[in-house]
């Protein structure tokens, strides 16, 4: 749906400093552009829960990180997400690939459980499921940053 350069441009404009990620096949296509960015540092983790904790440390240290993972990794992230966002009140922001969400016929349980999962955490989110909705990423990030609250952007994945 987006090129890596489009995403990098958006993240750079927002003043972000670190992308803490474990990619899926959609987000993974952005690796070259993310790695080439002079403003963004790409931090690779081994399991998605780690991403929230690294981002927490970065935020505490004055950096401006974004977590970038797939929705299956969101499911894995529970305890670290809980700790960083709800124990310590850190307003972390994440871009999460919503696997199979663009395929109405998909029986993928990852598609079905993503939004209920975010709702159960009480995490506000926006869905970007069309190329023309990309500006919503920046708008939503700014609204979360200004309000000092966490947020998630779901990136539609599947058929386009």
């Amino acid at each position: 749906m987006f090129t890596g350069q489009q995403i990098v441009t958006e993240l750079e404009r927002l003043g972000l400093t670190h992308v803490v990620w474990l990619p899926d096949s959609t987000l993974g296509q952005w690796e070259e552009a993310l790695g080439a960015s002079q403003a963004l540092k790409l931090i690779r983790v081994c399991r998605e829960g780690e991403a929230w904790s690294v981002a927490a440390g970065l935020a505490l240290g004055g950096a401006r990180p974004v977590v970038m993972i797939q929705c299956t990794g969101l499911f894995e992230s529970g305890d670290s997400l809980r700790n960083a966002i709800f124990d310590y009140g850190l307003p972390l922001f994440a871009v999460i690939g919503h696997r199979s969400s663009l395929n109405p016929a998909a029986t993928d349980s990852a598609r079905r459980f993503t939004e209920p999962n975010l709702k159960s955490w009480g995490l506000d989110y926006r869905t970007i499921d069309k190329p023309e909705k990309l500006p919503e990423l920046a708008m939503f990030f700014r609204s979360c940053r200004d309000a000092g609250r966490p947020g998630v952007v779901l990136i539609g994945e599947g058929k386009m």
């Binding site: 690779r44 780690e50 904790s53 935020a59 505490l60 004055g62 950096a63 700790n83 310590y88």
Partner: protein, 205 residues
């Protein structure tokens, strides 16, 4: 052979400089709090078990001129061995990861970890230092005796990391889950402010 957890932490406490960050968790957090308070202490309690080294990694990357010391448990380490790979991929020269190995889950009543020799019929205890080396830690140290740790702590903290330190410690009888010394969100704000205003670590200036 093992040393007292409290005594081993006292060794670290005695040499800690004003600009260094210390992030203790689980048993080491409980005991570190008894040694005093410091604005650059981030007592990682409440915790997400296994995540303290990653929080430390984030701080170390955000503040590369400041040394960050994480004291972790062996049970915590086992819960997230992948963090060793994540740390060495990011290669922070200012991160020191100390694992206090007592071979048990102390705060839940001292049940054996799966890495402890008695829990592994026919297999030796897990070699954390070998794992750390295999993951690419630049410096790996191990101490079973307090005197040796005391003699070398200065050198351990002066080398360029990422650094891995294994301290063999005895379980603390009745050692309880550490309690947050103040509301956690308030501590996060105060720690963040301190991080961004405190003098840098002397060794990394």
């Amino acid at each position: 052979m093992s040393m007292s957890l409290v005594e081993s932490l006292k060794v670290l406490h005695a040499v800690r400089t004003p600009g260094q960050v210390v992030i203790p968790t689980m048993g080491s957090a409980r005991e570190w709090m008894t040694l005093g308070t410091h604005p650059l202490d981030f007592i990682y309690a409440p915790s997400a078990m296994g995540q303290a080294p990653l929080v430390g990694l984030g701080v170390a990357l955000a503040q590369p001129e400041r040394q960050v010391i994480v004291t972790n448990g062996d049970g915590c380490t086992l819960m997230n061995l992948g963090c060793l790979v994540t740390i060495t991929a990011a290669a922070p020269r200012n991160l020191v990861l100390i694992v206090c190995d007592n071979s048990v889950y102390e705060v839940t009543g001292q049940q054996l970890t799966a890495a402890a020799e008695p829990a592994r019929p026919g297999a030796p205890a897990v070699d954390y230092c070998a794992i750390a080396r295999g993951c690419g830690f630049r410096e790996v140290f191990a101490y079973e005796r307090l005197e040796a740790w005391q003699a070398e702590v200065g050198r351990v903290l002066s080398v360029s990391g990422p650094t891995f330190v294994l301290l063999s410690v005895a379980p603390v009888p009745g050692g309880a889950v550490p309690k947050s010394p103040a509301p956690a969100p308030q501590r996060a704000i105060e720690f963040s402010r301190a991080l961004q205003s405190a003098p840098l670590t002397e060794a990394f200036n």
